[in-house]
Subunit: 319 residues, 4 copies
């Protein structure tokens, strides 16, 4: 292993820069040349590849987004696209690749691996829905952004004695909603992994009102339904004064938290070590509080599971 | 003047607590009893009036929202409602009232004044659209929240080379959009006070792209149109990759900035001084960098005007 | 178990309120009366004990410090003090106690246990130096505060091409320094667990300068030496332009991060469950990414160990 | 006027980047070439001068510090230094200069002016102590940083029932201490512009204690004395449990607030307009809520005065 490259793919996530920095610096520390591929797989196809130095990743650990940018590439999904990608890597003499991204990106990584390129994946997505790891880079920052927002919303909900319905990201997984709801003391949390009844939500609100709590917060994962639907149901059926807020892309950006900088740094260094040790074909993961790795095949057979004990905990704490 | 009361009315705004604190403490300092009226004019009608102490406004200067809560009252707009209000004030021997709120709240204040109650108004609304003052409590914090959000959005816009359309509050006034846009370096700012052409917006974006800036931010005041409309227009007519974010009620909450704590404190103290000096029937204002006051009648004849020189400045700085 | 009480002891830590809230609500949910003891063991001795309701822990999850306040008590360390404490608990019919604090507080808890009171401990201290757990409530927030500060310091260090020496908390353990240093990309990290040579620090700075990085950050744990000493050494021996900043008590306060709210909530609920299940005499802990528990005796035999792999990681990433 | 340059001098301040951006973009908008001088006057002497483009000030408005860096130059204070400076400007054909800095920097600017170079000054320093203007870029952000810190310190002061003494910047002027103290509800504020007696401070604390407020905050400007001295006096003479925190260089850095971005942008653009209109030899200022300008001579005759009405206000609000 003399030359490796790193790219970020799929949706961007805070902490990706920490991972890029770690890949570059660990690589250089180990005597390896490191290249940066811009704009994900699409950039790889087009040969947007530049050498990285210690300085090119200086002062980025605290920046949101990804300095390498990212994109989604349809072309790369084709057989021909993958061949072009390999040709580009060969042009630069790159014999190892680190891909920071989600399930889709790892699928591409696996295909390159089947064609002989040692690739290591690093899980990065705010949704925390990647199979084979308990944690994905960006999740902690996204939750942090969501609870900052809910802390603000609570001020105005209190002042007006209103019910606020907050829609957070999470198409397939309720992790952001669950953490943000639990950590901000939301009265109800609606996630794809659990069914809900509007009557129960109303009952919880009524319960609070009976003991003098006139405002309440409901957090809903976008994968379940629009916040607007919940709001309308509560307004029409129960005559509540409701307001809706959709956090949206806000959750993708922002200075990464300490946690995401740390995990990003650890995973980035681990990915380089795996390539050096001949362990291409693996993704880095986080299980039982430790940085681990497993093959893409192994990971693919697993399913990301939300921690339902947290859901039950939230139920008992928001009575 | 021996007993005064304070209430917050209309939409809540960060810094209202600083004003309440100042009214209470300045009053007590001057040897006056101060009462808090809960839930705005509606609470006044229902006699939700409690004595305030030094301690009851302790540790609130840094909290968003209003500890006195607020509401909109239809009843108070009637002749009969106003009579009931005066009866309630008389019940408590209250001979002076401070109202923190916007134009509508001042209208009510003026009516009470015509019926013999000395009332002083303090401008509080995040929209900064109150006639007779250059500044209303809450505006600086709302702008701060908006630019924090846009700073985050820029991270992800950069990573994906996208155009983000950010909708901020401001039904009648573009102040938040103008400040937030200028202070976050937005490429385009759309406000009710100036016409816009979608072609010009596209041209500015193209200009930036030609010199390598692949992402851009457009800030639009809700009073003009929905961000979604701008987004659709850019996507359909110019094939741009756009994303929409509506900041909404987020802008109402949050820890007040130093500026709002300061102006809130100054205005609160000034309101008490005016009542003591027999200057009921006035609103406190901020003009030419100074705390001033003027009669409700005088203020009503004025119109809040946005500083269009800032709009022109924004145009020249976002080339 | 029909009545339990909760107190916070030792230094306060962000997230303690989340733990208190969880103890109270989980208790009530399980049909138990919950009491709050004010001012730690000292307050227990003086009978500062009040019943807690669902409402008394409302809107506290996001507040720093501890609503129950805390103190250090010399009296409680005596045999007689402990007997008085038990008498007070008996007066209220309290048959179970939750103590949130550090090693010293657990020592007291163990003594009460030996006298027949079921006590469960929850580790809370920003230093993260408690035996028997990988994580203590407050650590993540303290690190977050430290990296926010260092991010600011870096701005001005950059502008002036200076070396900043930042002193963070941690008398016996370098955890805060290690995390804060690694997560903020500090050039050097000085912790009690590893020896250092001033020459090596200077060499790292020189290394950076040679490739154009004119500013640098050194993070030192207070347990090693004062930042001022490092600063003087660098200034006198190597003629560097240095500045010192001591973060101090700043690190104790502030809105708890999502992580501390989550761990606090989980540990609080777990403590109640342990008391109900007859598992007094244990402390809640966090090991291998899971909430666990172990006896105070067992914990006492262990020593908190810093993760030295992170130190090595920091070395390779700050080349 | 065809070519102008901009430099930052003296202590850095948040918002300087907004000013640099405005100078560059307004200049280019007006058809002028703009150069950046690195490292202040020292860099000017050494010819560290580079052309600035629209892109070179992209994405900097929200960054703390100054991208042009800054320094203090002894050489420039000499006649010979000034001649060298002018030679360097002539080498590049630069016929106008914008200097962002404080009193000392303006003194240098005036000297260049006397030798025929049109120079315009922009006041930038967190201390807000520049003669001839009510406001200097960076002050609002420094206050914001200070109140954020004090909000955190209050959490832990509350938990431990302590008195915290917070030392803020301000050698000659108490503006930061006054604003930070007033806006964070400090019990006492000690500034160079007003004498104080330790007995009065103790009396205020006692007053609060008598009504149940067990913690308190004292803010002291570094220009008066070290916080440690106040702390020792209170501890020794009145047996208070005190803690000291010195905010120090923390206050220099950080993302500029909306206010500093706005004033920085306005002042930057104004400086360019002044140069174009032949108004060299002036400093931009902020008086009565408006951007103004006045000659360096005129400004020099004035003295920055703190607003003592705010000091009196603080006294009445912290009873």
């Amino acid at each position: 292993m003399r030359k490796i490259a790193v790219l970020t793919s799929g949706g961007d996530a805070p902490g990706m820069n920490a991972a890029i920095r770690a890949v570059v610096r660990r690589g250089i520390y180990k005597g390896i040349d490191v290249f940066g591929i811009h704009n994900g797989y699409e950039g790889l196809l087009e040969g947007h590849i530049t050498p990285m130095t210690l300085g090119s990743v200086g002062d980025i650990i605290h920046r949101g987004g990804t300095i390498l940018r990212t994109s989604r590439s349809e072309r790369f999904k084709t057989e021909e696209g993958q061949k072009t990608a390999i040709k580009q890597l060969n042009n630069y003499g790159i014999d190892g690749l680190v891909v920071v991204g989600g399930d889709g990106s790892f699928n591409g990584a696996r295909k390159l691996g089947e064609k002989g390129v040692p690739v290591v994946g690093i899980p990065g997505t705010i949704d925390n829905d990647i199979a084979g790891t308990d944690y994905s880079i960006g999740f902690n920052t996204a939750v942090s952004t969501a609870i900052d927002a809910i802390d603000k919303i609570r001020d105005t909900a209190f002042s007006h004695e209103r019910t606020s319905v907050v829609e957070v990201m999470g198409r397939g997984a309720g992790d952001i909603a669950l953490w943000a709801g639990l950590c901000s003391g939301a009265e109800s949390i609606i996630i794809p992994e659990a069914s809900y009844r509007i009557e129960d939500i109303f009952e919880r609100i009524t319960c609070g009102r009976n003991r003098g709590k006139m405002h309440s917060i409901i957090v809903v994962a976008e994968g379940v339904c629009r916040a607007e639907e919940i709001s309308v149901a509560l307004r029409e059926r129960f005559k509540l004064d409701t307001r809706v807020i959709v956090l949206g892309y806000l959750q993708r950006g922002g200075t990464p938290t300490a946690y995401d900088r740390m995990i990003g740094s650890q995973m980035g260094a681990k990915a380089v070590d795996l390539l050096i040790d001949g362990h291409g074909g693996n993704m880095v993961g986080f299980n039982s509080g430790k940085i681990v790795y497993k093959s893409f095949e192994q990971a693919e057979k697993q399913v990301h599971e939300i921690d339902m004990s947290l859901y039950q905990l939230a139920q008992t704490l928001s009575i």
